[in-house]
């Protein structure tokens, strides 16, 4: 039981969310549609997944503010830049 407590926490919930997000992005992106909206959603899901990995697996949720802010900025910036390139190139 004590072992179960190691994953029955925020990281465990994040893992469930990450698995669900992977399946959703697969369903949304793999075969269906080629519209810009689909791509923006797929990239947004990826950025949200990366954010969860950072916050709950790498323990950045409780890291010093500058470190957490830099990571949050990275997630947002990657999404914005990739989405911008897709839309305007």
């Amino acid at each position: 039981m004590k072992s179960l407590q190691l994953v029955a926490n925020r990281a465990g919930i994040s893992w469930l969310l990450l698995v669900a997000a992977t399946i959703i992005s697969w369903a949304v992106g793999a075969e269906h549609g080629t519209g810009a909206t689909v791509v923006l959603v797929v990239l947004a899901i990826a950025a949200c997944k990366v954010r969860l990995v950072g916050l709950d697996f790498m323990e950045l949720r409780h890291a010093p503010l500058p470190l957490r802010a830099a990571f949050e900025f990275y997630c947002l910036a990657i999404w914005a830049v990739l989405a911008g390139l897709y839309l305007w190139l």
Binding site: K2, S3, G12, G33, F57, Y74, L85
Partner: protein, 173 residues
């Protein structure tokens, strides 16, 4: 800082991929559809699971549950090996179908990006091996524990980079 540097470098690779993609979107989309999406999804789930196992292992080490930590790390290592095996299978399948790195720019970028990531996976496996020795060893000093935490973060970085690669290579149409 090293991990952040790696993330930025890969960020530049992602941007380069999108720029190249914009030059021939149809070629990239046709090539994308030849990838094994099932393998891509499976590999994503495998890495996510390995990351959770590493989180559990770190928690076990902190709680003094060394055997649990060791087993979790072995399981994470197994997930890493499974990722490598599936990647090699995918490379072989693509190459035998005539979709090697020289076929077009999509495949060139696919092999470069996933190859660099695979290198990270292999380094990560070595790091996990090191963590096993720490989990099985004597009580960890604060310095050693910080080292273990850094190693765990490296494995999560491997997971994190793959999440973007999976979206860019397999899903962006």
């Amino acid at each position: 800082m090293f991990l952040f540097g790696d993330m930025v470098v890969f960020g530049v690779f992602f941007v380069t991929f999108m720029v190249e993609r914009a030059k021939a979107p149809d070629v990239f989309d046709v090539a994308r559809r030849t990838l094994h999406i099932g393998v891509g999804v499976t590999n994503t789930l495998v890495l996510l699971t390995s990351s959770l196992l590493v989180v559990a292992a770190l928690g076990a080490i902190r709680s003094g549950m060394r055997p649990v930590a060791t087993n979790a790390l072995y399981a994470a290592f197994g997930c890493g090996l499974l990722f490598v095996g599936l990647k090699v299978f995918e490379y072989a399948a693509l190459a035998s179908a005539g979709h090697g790195p020289g076929a077009n720019h999509f495949y060139l970028y696919y092999f470069i990006l996933t190859g660099l990531h695979l290198l990270h996976v292999c380094i990560g496996l070595a790091v996990l091996g090191l963590l096993v020795t720490q989990a099985r060893g004597a009580q960890l000093s604060d310095t050693r524990l910080a080292l273990v935490e850094g190693g765990a973060c490296f494995w999560h970085l491997v997971d994190l980079l793959w999440i973007f690669l999976f979206a860019l290579l397999y899903l962006v149409s």
